[in-house]
Structure formats: structure tokens, C-alpha cells
Symmetry: C2
Subunit: 234 residues, 2 copies
């Protein structure tokens, strides 16, 4: 199989550590307001609302809404469980922007830098454009473009998201590779004809609670983005 021309990256979990970052951000924002809670449990609870929130768009029940809007809706759902219903609007807006302030895994920035020397690279995430732009600034990621859900008008794993990314770069699906820490994402990309690479992030959901292996057939498995650069000669 020839090397791809473009690499598409899942972001949440694959490139950035959303769980520890959301826990840190929530602690930083809410401690001064006198709140004490299980910060990691808060991050997990918020993330648990993620797939159901997007499913309403995927199913066609509601028109496409940016992930910022879905995150805010999901935040409202979990605030009562953590005794946070007295947060004012400004605090809720700021807390919702925690998703714009996630930190990359240690290999992400140097790995992407190497990979970009040889390939076009873009996030193909369910995160919206502003969210991706803020993560890029925070972590010094340099993308060729921000593709994914907002450009496609639907959410992964719908085929349209992968295919619209290939089309935006003008490449056939077989000339593009999806890189993700989630077998489901890669299974959907492969069904669209993309090459696939699995990056295990075994601690994504807490120690030992990430996907250690893809559980589906993939073209590459690399332990991190630097190892993927090695494997692809970048």
C-alpha cells in the first residue's frame, strides 16, 4: 500500500488528553468559587453525555449544531449532579470553554511537526472550528486546514465527515489515512476507503481504561505520533 498523501486526526483522546485537562480546568475555575468535587468524575460525566448529544444530529432529529453548543447543553445536564446549579452565566460560559483549553499528549506536538513535513495534516474531529483553532494555538499544532464535523455538517462516524475531508484536499479516500485511538472511528473510516492507523491511548478514560488495541483491522498500529512518523518515514 503506498503511503497516504494526507493524514486526518481524531483529536479528543488521540491528540489531546481531554480527561485530565477538563478536570484541571474545572478545578482551576471552580475552586475560587468555593466548589470542591471529584474533578475527574466531573470530566467523565461531561464526556459521557458526548455521544448521545451528537446522536440527535446524526439521526436527523435536530439540524447540525456545533460541538460548543452540544457541550453547553450537556453541561446543563450534569450541573445538578455535582451541586453546581448556582453557577452564573459567565461561569458556565467560561467552564464550557474548558474544551478549548485541552493539553496534548507529550508526543503530539513534536509528532505532528514531523508528520507535516511529509504529509498534509488536518484534524477530522467532531469538535468545531473555533475549538480546534484554540487547541492548535495552545499546543502549537500547525494544521494545513481544519476539517471535520463543522465543515461536513454532520458528526463522525457518519461517512460524510471522512469523505468531505478527502474531497477538501482533493484526494481519493485511499490516499488519506485516519489516525485515531478508537476502533470505531477507524472502522468507519476504513469503510469509506481510507487507510487507518491506531494509536493506543490506554489511559484516556483513566488508568488502563483506554483502548489498548483497535479491535478492528487497521493498516498501522503505532504507540504514539512519533512512532507513526517513524513508520511512515517522516
Amino acid at each position: 500500500m503506498p503511503h497516504p498523501k494526507a493524514l486526518f486526526f481524531d483529536i479528543f483522546g488521540t491528540v489531546v488528553d481531554w480527561r485530565a485537562s477538563i478536570a484541571r480546568q474545572a478545578q482551576t475555575l471552580l475552586t475560587p468559587l468555593g466548589k470542591q468535587l471529584d474533578w475527574l468524575a466531573f470530566a467523565d460525566a461531561w464526556r459521557d453525555e458526548y455521544q448521545p448529544g451528537m446522536e440527535a444530529v446524526r439521526s436527523g432529529a435536530i439540524p447540525f449544531s456545533r460541538l460548543d453548543v452540544i457541550h453547553r447543553h450537556n453541561l446543563e445536564r450534569i450541573l445538578p449532579r455535582f451541586g453546581l446549579t448556582d453557577l452564573d452565566e459567565a461561569a458556565r460560559v467560561d467552564l464550557n470553554l474548558a474544551w478549548h483549553r485541552l493539553d496534548g499528549w507529550p508526543d503530539s506536538e513534536p509528532g505532528l511537526l514531523r508528520l507535516r513535513r511529509k504529509f498534509r495534516i488536518a484534524p477530522v474531529s467532531n469538535g468545531n472550528i473555533a475549538l480546534m483553532a484554540d487547541l492548535a494555538r495552545r499546543n502549537a499544532f500547525i494544521w494545513d486546514a481544519i476539517l471535520g464535523a463543522e465543515v461536513a455538517g454532520d458528526y463522525k462516524p457518519k461517512p460524510r465527515v471522512y469523505l468531505s475531508a478527502c474531497e477538501a484536499f482533493g484526494f481519493a479516500p485511499g490516499d488519506c489515512m485516519m489516525v485515531a485511538a478508537h476502533g470505531g472511528d477507524l472502522k468507519a473510516a476504513k469503510a469509506c476507503g481510507l487507510q487507518t492507523a491506531f494509536i493506543p491511548r490506554p489511559n484516556e478514560h483513566g488508568p488502563g481504561k483506554g483502548e489498548a488495541s483497535p479491535g478492528v483491522e487497521v493498516d498501522y498500529i503505532a504507540k504514539d505520533l512519533l512512532a507513526l512518523a517513524d513508520a511512515l518515514g517522516a
Copy 2:
């Protein structure tokens, strides 16, 4: 008026010198094929087809087509006029990609670098995503995102293009500024509520044949992108 949070850039003419670049690219590609022609006239002729080509999309006569497709269609229209009808498919494909290989004005790369320190920056061009990504690589432009026609699904000066760019960054139009060398672009942006900055590129269409002044009310006039950075404290 408070400073904007995001700057949107017209690209063809404002950030890159399409005329000299297309002439150079065409000469480089076609001279080895034994062709001799007025290279600048060829560039002008190709560009003259630009607005009519997009108008079919704007009017709703045809569905949205990427600028690469429109450029190719326009190329076919002008080939007979320059005695180029014997070009094979590979040469036509390569020639069409000349638009992906345009060079920036001398102030563009350093100016954008300074402006990005203070503002989110994005192209809001009629060029498609792959074209913008290739120009960014060639000229070392670092954008926060690639916005514009392909993301909006329509062509400037339709309001949807400006407004969708503001929405992608999550900013009100008044917090965004359109930067262009063309009064018509700025007039349309201002009508959508954006701030505006005019950059004269007096030689865009040949010596003395660019717009020396905007001809419409604008918020800033700066002689180049470095002067705009000065004016905006970046």
C-alpha cells in the same frame, strides 16, 4: 471602535501576487512544451474569466463548485485564444495547479506572522481549501483555520461567506475585520457588520492597474500588512 478579535483576508491580489505568479508558472510549464506566448496576457485572460465563472454559482444557476473546478473550466475557455488546444490532460491538470503555487507579496508572510500574535487570522477567499492549504505551505503562512467560499458553500460577495466565517470563530461580525485590496469585497463585508481594512495593491493587474484607494468607506487603510500590524498594535 474596539480592535477586532479576528482578521479575515482576501487572498488573490491582497496577500498573493496572482498575476506575476501565474505568468511565471505558465512560462515554466509551457516553455519546455515549445510554447511561446505573452505570459502576462495569459494570466490576465485567465483571471478575466474569474467573476463570470463564480456568478453561475452565486445566481443559483449551478450548485456550488470549488474554485479549482471553475479555474479548469475557465482554462478550457482561453486555451484556443493562445494556441494551446494541443495540451494533453496531464499538462492541463498541472497548469490548473498554477493557482496553488502563487507567491505572496513581500510583506505578507512577516505581516501575517505579526498579526497572528494578537488576532485569530483566516483566509476568507473564494479559493478552495486545498488551494489555500497549498499557498500556506508555499509561503509559510500559518492560519488559525481556512474559512471562505468552500466552508460557506457560496462565493463572495454573498453575505453568507462573511457571516459563516464570523460564526466559525464564534464572534459577532463587529468583532471581525475583513482585509482586502478590493473595495467591492470591503463594501460587502461592511454591509454584514464587519470592520474593514483596505490594503492598496496598485500593481495587482499590472503597473498602476490595481485599486489605489477603496472607493468606499473603510475603517483602516494601511499600505501593506506590516503597516496594518502597526496600526492594530500587533
